[in-house]
Point group: C2
Chain length 332, copies 2
Amino acid sequence: MHDTRFVLAAGTTATAERAGLSAAGADPSLASTTPSADAELLTYGQPVRTGTVPVSPDGCPTPALVTRAVRDCLGFDVTVVDAGLSEPTAAPTVSVGAKPGRDITEQDTVPTAYGAFEAARQFGHALPNDELWLAETVPGGTTTALGVLRALGEDVMVSSSLPENPIEQKRDLVEEGLAASSLDPGDAAGQPKRALRRMGDPVLATLSGLTAGAVETDTAVTLAGGSQQLAVAALVRHGGYEGPLSLATTSYVADDPTADLRAGAEGLDLDLTVTDPGFDQRDHVGMNRFVAGEAKEGVGMGGALALAERAGVPMAEVRAAFADSYGELLDR
Amino acid sequence: MHDTRFVLAAGTTATAERAGLSAAGADPSLASTTPSADAELLTYGQPVRTGTVPVSPDGCPTPALVTRAVRDCLGFDVTVVDAGLSEPTAAPTVSVGAKPGRDITEQDTVPTAYGAFEAARQFGHALPNDELWLAETVPGGTTTALGVLRALGEDVMVSSSLPENPIEQKRDLVEEGLAASSLDPGDAAGQPKRALRRMGDPVLATLSGLTAGAVETDTAVTLAGGSQQLAVAALVRHGGYEGPLSLATTSYVADDPTADLRAGAEGLDLDLTVTDPGFDQRDHVGMNRFVAGEAKEGVGMGGALALAERAGVPMAEVRAAFADSYGELLDR
């Protein structure tokens, strides 16, 4: 029971203030609250200080409700790391010195990247658990993930929390960011901290540091998420770690034809687990948004589903817990 | 399972830097690390960032090991509030804006008292649980508790983490502190925030704020601890709350002849639960220190024991879990 710990890195980046880039918040002005609210939902099962259950512009609820539903079934330990929150949260958080990230088109996008990576590495090294499941919540995070992948020279397209992946907009932003950082694609190969600072976000810095520290003590790490966790894996591989590393995501990300999750995971030698929550088996207003391709991942949803499957909890039970919490929090 | 939350307020006061006042740390210079380490022990079951298991000058282990042992048996949710920590901790913490307290003989002892009380009140108001068990870790805390009780005009003597309660030293310090604050005993009656700021510590401010906020929404509150929780209860009563309030402590505090725990609890109309862990039934090196009158309480030990008793967990099982953790962490 004490062997598994689920760690959520919650943070923000100014990149998310651009319209059309993310579904994490009913509009871009609400995106900065989403990670603080997700941390509360995962910790307490409802908003506490933020007073908000994040929804997409089309009404898709935050995947935090799915992860929390699994936690209600399994009862695993959760730790939230402040990976650059910009709004107060009532969730208890571990500090690694991360501050909100700047816009990806700036030259110095994540000034706290080196310090946060190092503090997170020490934290990951010191944690006593046998296995860590690492999750993220950072609106706009797939764009900074693409930025990091390009800086490292990894040719993988990222997924999106929107049904229509705004690929062109992401490519343009990354191109602009690389130019502002005087980088060509691949110029930061083998230099993960440089890629993080120039093109990343504080959540990527925190998660790659946590992973680097945890594997030093042979703690098993599962990156719970989609494209952003692919970027974390790339950062850890470019830091020289060649050992075992797992990625657990949803069928929504894995089956997204605009992204290359499976190929990316294979290229980085990741042990991939894909889990389908079976939301298409019910005609539920919240589940239907996921089936329509919204959100897809976040707050470790795919990892939580994999934990449920491993524990033998039927997906029908997870769906029921999700429907209960949706009913209590949003359907009123 | 989600109805009970155990909240630990962890903080420091410069008052603890005086020799002979507290057993929370092998010497006064280590006392500032104790709350950060206690928070890690309760959260992770072992030190993580602090690298320390606090012990008294005579080798009595921190009561955090007892509370954690109960948590290992029961699995209740824990939230740590940063109530003025002065050393980094790897435990996730909720911020209420508290800073380490100054020495009780200064005029403005807790400059953050008003803000911390108010932020904690809002947090306690917003927490969704049916019942809260509130715990503390603050070396030197019985002296500031005495200061607050005197400022409010409550004539109760406090207990001590030392086998020999340094009553005269505490009385002298409180007298000096009252003089520095231009207060006579009872001058802050009905003014809990004034008593906190002039004579208290940031942990008392946080706990009394949490309690005040929680009872506003009819959340049941049990103050888990001894003399310091008596001071919290007095603060809440002087704030005008006359409703139900519980205090759960150990037999070590309740039976301390130098203090007046039972009379104090009765005077403040508290529902008192006293639990004996039965440490005298084993000849265990760590338990023997408690039997000899050291530590007595802290980190909600008495409350945790009461939770175990309520859940029907035999004390022998708690003792076994404590012995295991002592063996792993200290007996090497």
